[in-house]
């Protein structure tokens, strides 16, 4: 979690508070679309450049897929359990949990589908998930094994969480984390696009 992320978010919120009542939404929406285009191009380039590693990982067999599958199912189950406790609509809770830690994309897609309030909740919940995954990685590897740490990191296991996973669980945790994060990241826009019909 970089300081830049927090500063940019805080500056944006301040800007929004100061510009309340002015036609800010159109500007922000347009900037958001361009920024997301750049972000996805950048992510695509990194994935494409790692194609060989991805192919090599896939040859290790279907068992590697159990970690992202468990992470996805468990996250959605946790989101469903959180719905009645937090007084949220189950679909809203699923859409927040379905960010799998990718706070920027989750929040942007929620802002478009359901407005600012759910977007902020998605942003905060997924940001907290990323932070907790980073902090708890070492403990999770020691107590429950590397798959648990990879699952806790969610979609961030392929980028921000990767270095922490490698340090805590060795190269194998890094390989597993990269594949799991890649698949979960690919699942986020599809899942949120699907859930968007009911938001």
């Amino acid at each position: 979690m970089s300081r830049r992320v927090l500063l940019a978010t805080a500056a944006g919120i301040l800007l929004g508070l100061l510009a309340r009542g002015r036609p800010l939404a159109a500007w922000a929406g347009s900037a958001e679309s361009w920024a997301l285009t750049g972000l996805l191009f950048s992510a695509g380039l990194v994935m494409g450049a790692d194609l060989e590693r991805v192919a090599r990982l896939l040859r290790r067999g279907w068992r590697l897929l159990l970690t992202p599958l468990g992470a996805a199912l468990g996250s959605l189950l946790g989101g469903l359990l959180a719905a009645p406790v937090s007084g949220l609509d189950p679909v809203h809770a699923l859409a927040v949990a379905g960010g799998f830690g990718w706070y920027s994309l989750d929040a942007v897609m929620l802002a478009r589908a359901a407005g600012g309030q759910l977007a902020l909740l998605g942003f905060l919940a997924n940001l907290l998930r990323e932070l907790t995954g980073l902090v708890a990685a070492g403990w999770l590897v020691r107590r429950l094994g590397r798959a648990a740490a990879v699952a806790a990191a969610g979609a961030t296991a392929m980028d921000t969480g990767l270095a922490v996973l490698v340090r805590a669980g060795g190269a194998e945790a890094g390989v597993e984390g990269f594949l799991s994060g890649l698949l979960l990241s690919a699942a986020v826009p599809l899942l949120l696009g699907f859930l968007g019909r009911w938001l």
């Binding site: 830049r4 940019a8 978010t9 805080a10 500056a11 944006g12 919120i13 301040l14 800007l15 929004g16 508070l17 100061l18 939404a25 922000a28 900037a31 958001e32 920024a35 997301l36 285009t37 750049g38 972000l39 191009f41 950048s42 380039l45 990194v46 494409g48 450049a49 790692d50 159990l66 970690t67 468990g70 992470a71 468990g74 996250s75 959605l76 946790g78 359990l81 959180a82 937090s86 949990a97 929040a107 942007v108 407005g115 600012g116 309030q117 977007a119 902020l120 909740l121 942003f123 905060l124 919940a125 997924n126 998930r129 907790t132 429950l144 798959a147 648990a148 699952a151 969610g154 826009p189």
Partner: protein
């Protein structure tokens, strides 16, 4: 996902896959990614700040965010452990 975003992701992927390893502009790409993220968060923050409904119950929002961060994370850990064992 809107068509332009999907196209951007695919274009990046194809470029990354077709360029030779040493020719992929990873440093520029990292800068592009960072700049995009900053603009994205700035615009997202601005939309949040300008929305009066967001600021009505900040305590409730924080409680919900904690629940929706930790319960899905706990679920992910438990289900994965069950499947992997």
């Amino acid at each position: 996902m809107n068509g332009i975003w999907l196209a951007a992701l695919l274009l990046g992927f194809v470029l990354g896959a077709t360029l030779r390893p040493g020719r992929v502009p990873l440093r520029w790409n990292e800068r592009l990614g960072q700049a995009s993220l900053v603009v994205l968060l700035l615009s997202l923050g601005a939309q949040v700040g300008a929305d009066p409904t967001v600021w009505r119950h900040p305590g409730l929002l924080a409680g919900r965010a904690l629940l929706l961060a930790w319960l899905p994370q706990l679920g992910a850990v438990l289900v994965t452990r069950f499947l992997v064992r």
